[in-house]
Symmetry: C2
Subunit: 470 residues, 2 copies
C-alpha cells in the first residue's frame, strides 16, 4: 500500500508534463508567479518536464503556447496546477478526469473555509477525483516546493519570500501562511528543505499519504509536520509506524490547549481532539513531538546534519570554555530528562595529566577562558573514546582571547566525522559567531545559539534512538 | 543606605580619572586592550576623565605619560583598573589605599578559583579594601562596560567581540565568558546595553550593590542578572525589593537542578542552595525569573521597548494574518498561564461590518492571507479600545502577497505609541522579515521570531504588573 501511494504521489514531485490552469501574463498574479517558477526552473535546467499554460483568453506567454482548454492539451500531462476562481474548479476537474491527468494541485481558495457552498464544491471535486483515481493536494493551499526537481507552486514572488536551498528535510504544513514564513525563515537559517507540501483544506492528500511517499524518498532523511488536526487517526498511525522505522518524523501539533483548539477550529475547521490522544499516538508510533516551531526545526537540523548517527543511551558529556554556559547546559540536561555522563577514570586521568590546574576536568569539562584549540582536541579525544558517554555537547564561546577559531572548528568537525557518537555544538554570540557556526555546520555539526536548545536537540536524538531500540 | 552605595559605586561608571595598572603597549595583551578602550573612547569624546597608565618598565604609551608606580600618580584618581599578575595585587592594593583611590576593578585571575593560596590573597585584598573604604569589582572578571561614559574594561578586542550600542538595559553577570558572549550577541540583535558589569569572584561588589546603584540610574530602565549563587540572601532581598518598585529586574539563576548546582560549584564555587528558596525569594521581591538566557533578553527587550507601559490584567488579544500562527499563540497563552481575552460585542460588530466574510473575527482575529494593512488598522483600532483586552499580540507574516510592509509597520507603530496597552509583535520569516522587525522596534514595538516567545514576553509584563499592583 505504501508503495502504491508513493507511486500515485510521484507526479506531484516529478511530473513529466505540467498543465498550469489559470496561467497568465499579469505580473504578481498567482497564475503568473506559478508559471514563472516553472519557466525559470526549466531555463535553469532544474525542471525537466514540459510546461503547458492553460488560459482561454491568451495565445502565448513568454514564448510558451497557451492552450485554451484542458481538452486541447497534448497527451502525457501528469500534473495539473489550478489557480482559477473556485466556481470554475468542479467543471475543470471533470475535464482533467476526461484527459486522464492523475495528480492535481488546487491552489485556489474560497471553498470549505468559507462555508456550506464551498464544502459542497469540495465534495463534488473529491467525488470526481475518487471516481477517476486522481490524487488532489488542496484546495486553498500553497502546494509543493521541490527545489531538486523544479516543482514550485509557491505563489509568492522573491520580493516577498526567500526560497531555501535544497536539503534532506521534508516539511509538511497544513497552514499556508506558516509554510511560506517557514520557507523564508529556513532560507535565512541556511536550512536545506528538499520537499515542502502545504495541503490547505486537504480534501484528499494528507499527512499519512505524504509520510508514505517520504518513506521511500532517499533524498529526504527527516520529515517535519505542522498539524492542526488528523482526520483518519488509524491511517495516520499506520503510516507513521512505517516511516519512523526508517527515518525520524517530528510533529508540531497545534491546538494543544482549549484556547488553541478553538483557534484551530476557526482556522482549518480541524477538530483538534483531546491532546492526550495525540500524545499517546505519537509516542506509540515513534513520532517526536515538538513543543513549538523552533523546537521542530532545531530537531530537524540535528537529524539532517547527523545523517542517522544516534546516541546509544542518554548519558551526555559536556565540554565548554565558559563555566556559566556549562552550568546552564547541565540544568538543561536535568530539565529535558537526560543524564549527565560520569566520565571514566581513564578520561579523568588523561585530561588531568594534560590540562593546566585551573581547567575543570569532569562533566562539564571546562577548558576555561584562556583555552586554545588543543584543549578542545584533548577533551574530544577523551570523551569520544569514553564508554560512559553516549552523546557530546560542545560549547564554544568563540570570544575567548586565545582560541583560534578555524583550528577549533577543524578539530570539532574532525571528531564529528570520525566518532560514532553524535556531537552537537553550542555557540553563543553575534555576527562572527554566526559565521563560525555555519562553518561547523558545513562540517556536519549541528549548532545551536543557546545551551538549552542544544541539549533539547540531543534529547530528540535520544528519544528517537530509544524508540528504535525498543 | 541605597543612596550611599550608589555614591560609592559611581566612580566605576563615571570616573574623573582612571589609573590603568598594568597598561602595556603589547598589542592584544589585556593591559593594552583596556588602555586602548579608554584612549579611543577619550579621543571620541565619550570618556571624559583623565587616563593614567601605570607600568614600572615604560615611560610612554601612545603619547600618554606612563607612571612607574601608584605612588607617583597625580591626585584625583578615583578608579583603578588592575591587570597585573595575581601575586602583585595585594601589595598594589596597599598602594591604592595609601593614594586614597576608592574604586578598584581587578581583572586579574588566579585567585580563589585556583585554591587556598588564591583565597588567602582574596581575603588580604578584601581586608585592605574594607579598612580603607575601597569598593572592589572582581577579581577574575571582565569588569565594566558603560558605552555612554566610555568605561570599558572588556579585554576582548573588536576582532573577537562586537560591542552593543547603548540602551536602557543593564546586564550583570557572574560569568565573564558568558558576559562577553552576551555583549557580542546583543550587538548583533541591536539590543541596547547601557551598563554591563561582570564581577567574577565577587569578593566585594555584588548583585545587591549593583541593584542599589541601578535603582537611581535614570539611563537604565530594566536590569538583568545572571547569577550562580547569592552569598547574603537578606541583603539581596532588601535591594531587590527596593529596585523592583521602580524598575523591573529579571534574573537567570543557573544551577537549578542538582546537575547544574554541581557544575556551578566547580565554576564559581557558588553554593547554589535549594532552588525553591531562590524561587520564593524572587517571587516575594518581584524579581522576574527567566528560564534561560533567551527568555531573559526577550523580557528585557519588552520592558526596554515599552518604557514602563504595563498591562492592567492578563487578558490577551491576538491579531494575525496566519491562522496557524494564531493557533500556536493561543496554545502559548494557555501554556504560560494567561487568559485569552473575550472581545466585547462592540469589537465583534465593528470588525464584522468592515471585514470580508472569510476573515475570522474573534480572538484570535485572523485578517487572513489576502489582508492589506487596513485590516490590521481596523483590528488594532477595535482591540486597543476594547475594555476586555489588556495586552495585544500582533502577528505579521510579511510574506502574504497583498500586504504593504511599510504601511502596516507605520500603523502598528502608531497604535503602539498612542495606546496605553502594551503591543508586542511576532514576525516569522527570513532576512526581509528581520529588516521589518527592526523597523517595528525603532517604533517602540518589541518583536519576536515565534508566537511562543512573543506570548512569553507578555507573560513577564503581566507578572511584573501584577506584583506592582499587589
Amino acid at each position: 500500500m505504501q508503495a502504491e501511494i508513493a507511486e500515485q504521489l510521484k507526479p506531484f514531485f516529478e511530473p513529466k508534463a505540467v498543465a498550469i490552469i489559470g496561467a497568465t501574463d499579469k505580473k504578481g498574479k498567482v497564475g503568473n508567479v506559478i508559471f514563472e517558477n516553472f519557466r525559470v526552473n526549466k531555463e535553469r535546467g532544474i525542471f525537466k518536464g514540459a510546461i503547458y499554460p492553460v488560459n482561454p483568453k491568451l495565445d502565448e506567454i513568454d514564448g510558451y503556447k497557451v492552450y485554451h482548454s484542458v481538452g486541447e492539451l497534448p497527451e502525457g500531462v501528469d500534473l495539473a496546477v489550478i489557480s482559477i476562481p473556485a466556481k470554475f474548479v468542479p467543471a475543470t476537474m471533470e475535464d482533467i478526469a476526461a484527459k486522464g491527468i492523475k495528480a492535481v494541485i488546487i491552489i485556489t481558495g474560497g471553498f470549505g473555509e468559507l462555508g456550506e457552498e464551498g464544502k459542497r464544491m469540495e465534495r463534488q471535486i473529491y467525488e470526481t477525483a475518487k471516481k477517476n483515481g486522481i490524487r488532489v493536494i488542496g484546495p486553498n493551499c500553497v502546494g509543493v516546493y521541490s527545489p531538486d526537481t523544479g516543482v514550485d507552486t509557491v505563489f509568492l514572488p522573491d520580493e516577498k519570500m526567500d526560497r531555501p536551498r535544497s536539503g534532506p528535510i521534508a516539511f509538511v504544513s497544513q497552514s499556508g501562511a506558516f509554510a511560506a514564513a517557514m520557507l523564508d525563515w529556513a532560507a535565512n537559517e541556511e536550512l536545506g528543505i528538499g520537499k515542502m507540501v502545504s495541503y490547505g483544506n486537504k480534501i484528499d492528500v494528507d499527512d499519512a499519504d505524504l509520510m508514505d511517499y517520504f518513506t521511500g524518498d532517499d533524498s529526504i532523511n527527516v520529515v517535519t509536520l505542522y498539524i492542526e488536526g488528523v482526520k483518519d487517526g488509524r491511517r495516520f498511525m499506520e503510516a507513521a509506524r512505517r516511516i519512523t522505522r526508517v527515518k525520524p518524523v517530528i510533529a508540531l501539533k497545534a491546538g494543544r490547549s482549549s484556547y488553541g483548539a478553538k483557534a484551530a477550529s476557526s482556522h482549518t475547521g480541524s477538530l483538534a481532539g483531546a491532546d492526550v490522544i495525540y500524545d499517546a499516538a505519537f509516542k506509540q508510533t515513534g513520532v517526536i513531538r515538538a513543543e513549538d516551531f523552533e523546537h521542530m526545526f532545531d530537531l530537524a537540523k540535528a537529524f539532517a546534519q547527523l545523517k542517522g548517527k544516534l546516541p546509544k543511551g542518554d548519558r551526555i558529556g559536556i565540554i565548554t570554555d565558559g563555566g556559566g554556559a556549562g552550568v546552564m547546559a547541565s540544568d538543561a540536561v536535568a530539565k529535558f530528562g537526560l543524564r549527565m555522563a560520569e566520565p571514566s577514570e581513564e578520561t579523568i586521568r588523561f585530561l588531568r595529566e594534560r590540562f593546566p590546574p585551573h581547567a575543570v576536568v569532569g562533566n562539564p569539562t571546562d577548558v576555561v577562558g584562556d583555552t586554545d584549540a588543543e584543549r578542545y582536541r584533548l577533551a574530544l579525544e577523551a570523551f569520544t573514546k569514553d564508554p560512559n558517554i553516549d552523546a557530546i555537547l560542545v560549547i564554544v564561546l568563540f570570544q575567548v582571547p586565545l582560541l583560534r577559531e578555524e583550528e577549533v572548528i577543524e578539530i570539532i568537525g574532525d571528531y564529528a566525522r570520525r566518532s560514532e557518537k553524535p556531537i552537537v555544538a553550542v555557540a553563543m554570540g553575534g555576527a562572527k559567531t554566526e559565521r563560525y557556526a555555519k562553518m561547523l555546520e558545513e562540517r556536519g555539526v549541528p549548532v545551536y545559539p543557546t545551551p538549552e536548545r542544544g541539549v533539547r536537540a540531543l534529547e530528540g536524538l535520544v528519544r528517537y534512538s530509544s524508540y528504535l531500540r525498543r
